[in-house]
């Protein structure tokens, strides 16, 4: 009984912590940042299609770099990446709930990885966690069907 109560409380706090991140995401207007970045990327949809058709990953990286020459876009991406650098380790170490993260915060992470993943990778440095969180959240899978009180039985984030 005590074990059940303990596990329930643990699970509840994981969900609460994730929801707090979601509230921070909304409060900081990060959705506006994501929208700005997506709009800029969409404006170059034709070029993106050409790079993809030619499997030109380097070209795609250069395009992303060019888009981020705009200070406003660069600042927006920095805010989003830094935000996910807090969420990623939280969920990777089972301090946040993975299913709640998928439900509330994965979509935007997916968009940022799709549109600016190459640039984020190019900015990463060895031994630095910068930019890893957005990939952790992007790599989460759909809600698990496992027993929610046992997060170690749920899934791997890798």
């Amino acid at each position: 009984m005590a074990l059940y109560g303990y596990l329930s409380a643990q699970q509840s706090s994981r969900v609460d912590r994730t929801f707090q991140f979601y509230k921070d995401f909304r409060a900081a207007d990060l959705q506006d940042d994501v929208n700005l970045l997506v709009e800029k990327f969409n404006a170059k949809a034709d070029e993106v299609s050409k790079f993809l058709a030619n499997n030109d990953e380097a070209g795609l990286t250069e395009l992303e770099k060019a888009l981020l020459q705009d200070a406003k876009a660069n600042a927006a991406l920095s805010r989003v990446v830094v935000f996910y650098d807090a969420v990623g380790p939280c969920v990777a170490h089972s301090l946040c709930d993975a299913d709640a993260t998928v439900a509330l915060l994965k979509f935007q992470a997916q968009q940022m990885v799709s549109a600016y993943g190459a640039y984020v990778v190019s900015q990463q440095q060895p031994q630095s966690p910068f930019g890893s969180g957005i990939f952790i959240v992007n790599g989460l899978t759909a809600p698990s069907k496992s027993w929610p009180w046992l997060p170690w039985s749920a899934r791997s984030t890798n």
């Binding site: 109560g5 299609s49 990953e57 993943g117 984030t157």
Partner: protein, 79 residues
């Protein structure tokens, strides 16, 4: 017959002991949940209407998604 009755009794007591904390936890969680504020606040000052329209705040979709391409770039599978 006597032992069968005792066995059933033990099962019922066991099930009740397991179910009680679950119900208690669910009830406690429901009580902890914040109640929606249905009352209108009359603070005297009117809030300025937001300049944001729905189309501005709604999430935008990516037109050409590199990670959904036939040969997605390597970073799409990065964890």
């Amino acid at each position: 017959m006597h032992s069968l009755g005792r066995c059933i009794l033990q099962l019922c007591v066991g099930a009740a002991l397991l179910a009680a904390p679950a119900l208690w936890a669910a009830q406690a969680h429901a009580q902890d949940a914040p109640k929606p504020n249905t009352t209108q606040q009359n603070s005297g000052t009117q809030q300025a209407p937001s300049t944001k329209s729905l189309s501005n705040t709604a999430p935008k979709a990516i037109l050409v998604d590199p990670c959904k391409a036939k040969n997605p770039p390597s970073y799409c599978g990065k964890h």
